[in-house]
Amino acid sequence: MLELKSVRKSFGGINVFEELSFNLEKGDRVGLTGGNGTGKSTLINLATGFLLPDEGEINLGNTSLLSLDPWQIARLGIRRNFQSVRLSNSLILRDQFFVPEKKVVDNLEMIEVSGIKGFLNRFPSECPLPILRKMEVLRALLSSPSVLFLDEPSAGFSYGELEEFSEFLINYVPDNTSLVIVEHRTELMERVCTKNWGLFLNEPLRMI
């Protein structure tokens, strides 16, 4: 479905990807890990249009994503969260879903189970980090994405929170949504993902 074909990307003189290819199928659960600077976040930025590759192709089905702006790609259903939480500090969490009100009401159960319900009337600065990360994941899920990239969603979680969160992802990420989890630690990927890939500098993706 989402396909990166022989993508090359370098920053200045530093090659991050020499010739990266991967194919994401409907409903895939992919874990992606790698050391610092191997291009984990770059891969997400490329797939969501925030960066352009120097060479290669990126396609969703038959559509090329190269000429599209990030917001157009988001509307095609490729959603992401950010490594550093991006929520507006002047809005309470309830106002930050950015989906029609009906969608929120229909998914009350999911919101409840995620554990953020008690925080909905608070500003981001009044919530602990795990809540904010879950909030971002929830926001993406409510938009019914076809592909969901999560950039280090469990950073800052305790072990208990991590278990709970993996349970949540297993139960609430729809079957036809492809999920890509990018992490340093492997606990979350081991629980949620069926395919685990490793990124190594200038090498093709490798199963681990």
């Binding site: 157009q72 929520l87 929120v104 926001r139």
Partner: protein, 299 residues
């Protein structure tokens, strides 16, 4: 009400329009130092349509607003790649081009034995609508107040819609907005356009109230003030900028023994207010709190 008070309140209403136009642009995350130009274009368009072409005053104002809207739209399209400081510079340059051109354009005429028409730095005299229609200052104050109220109510309604919500995210965090599927460009372009029209509306009313306009009235200080009003009033709700105008024109300019020191006191006041309310008196956060209080939604 004394005539003096009426004049002060009318001025508060008139400058609220330009403050609201600065507010709209700040919401989409840009800073314009050029809103005084649209105020001026509105004033001059009204004067030209009303005096030279004998249009009715309503049409003159509407035409003025339309011209301002398209001019602002054009400006925002030309500057589409600019942001921050560079956008501010471009708007300032535009405003100065307008002001200096008005200094050069002369096309005086006589109407009913009175000198009027475009006359460079000497200004445009005898826009006599309020005399011809016997509108007393109180009546004119009510007219501006009603128009301003309609505008503010409209902005409040807009505040509850997705348009304002998306625009605020575009202004606050462009990357987040894009990742949510919000296209930033239409918001930026149309908010700048609407701001131009609102400023032009205020300018038109200003020309009617004053009966006389000159290019020097639309100098940079007017634009700087409109920004200052919004910044101290806050970006949370449309009444924020009005609060800023009220503090400056309503209190400082109108207390006579203070008016000499107005700039000094106003500058100090801005600094003090921003120390205690870094996001303005009615900050977006306070606006969120108020919304939470008044509109309890589901969940």
């Amino acid at each position: 009400m004394s005539l003096y008070l009426i004049t002060v309140l009318t001025n508060v209403c008139l400058f609220s329009f330009i403050a609201l136009s600065a507010y709209l642009i700040l919401i989409v995350g840009e800073v314009s130092f050029g809103q005084q130009a649209f105020f001026g274009v509105g004033a001059y368009s009204l004067a030209i349509f009303y005096v030279y072409f004998d249009f009715s005053v309503v049409f003159s104002i509407l035409f003025g607003m339309t011209i301002c809207f398209f001019l602002a739209l054009l400006l925002s399209l030309i500057t589409i790649k600019l942001s921050g400081l560079y956008f501010a510079m471009a708007t300032l340059a535009f405003a100065e081009i307008f002001r200096l051109s008005m200094n050069l354009i002369r096309f005086p005429i006589e109407k009913e034995d009175r000198a009027t028409g475009l006359n460079g730095p000497e200004g445009f005299e005898n826009i006599r609508w309020i005399f011809e229609n016997n509108i007393d200052p109180l009546g004119f104050f009510y007219i501006t107040l009603i128009i301003l109220s309609i505008l503010v109510i409209f902005l409040f309604v807009l505040e509850r819609s997705f348009v304002m919500k998306n625009a605020r995210i575009v202004g606050k965090d462009l990357i987040l907005a894009q990742s949510l599927g919000i296209s930033p460009r239409p918001y930026r372009v149309f908010f700048i356009g609407a701001a131009g029209a609102i400023s032009g509306l205020g300018g038109g009313l200003f020309a009617l109230a004053n009966t006389y306009i000159e290019p020097a009235m639309f100098g940079m200080m007017l634009g700087v003030h409109s920004l200052a009003y919004t910044i101290i009033g806050g970006l949370g709700l449309p009444i924020g900028p009005l609060l800023g105008v009220l503090i400056d024109i309503g209190i400082l300019e109108s207390i006579r023994f203070l008016s000499e020191y107005r700039m000094i006191i106003f500058g100090g006041l801005v600094a003090i207010i921003l120390i205690f309310y870094p996001e303005g008196i009615i900050s977006p956060r306070i606006a969120s709190r108020l919304k939470r209080l008044f509109f309890k939604k589901g969940l």
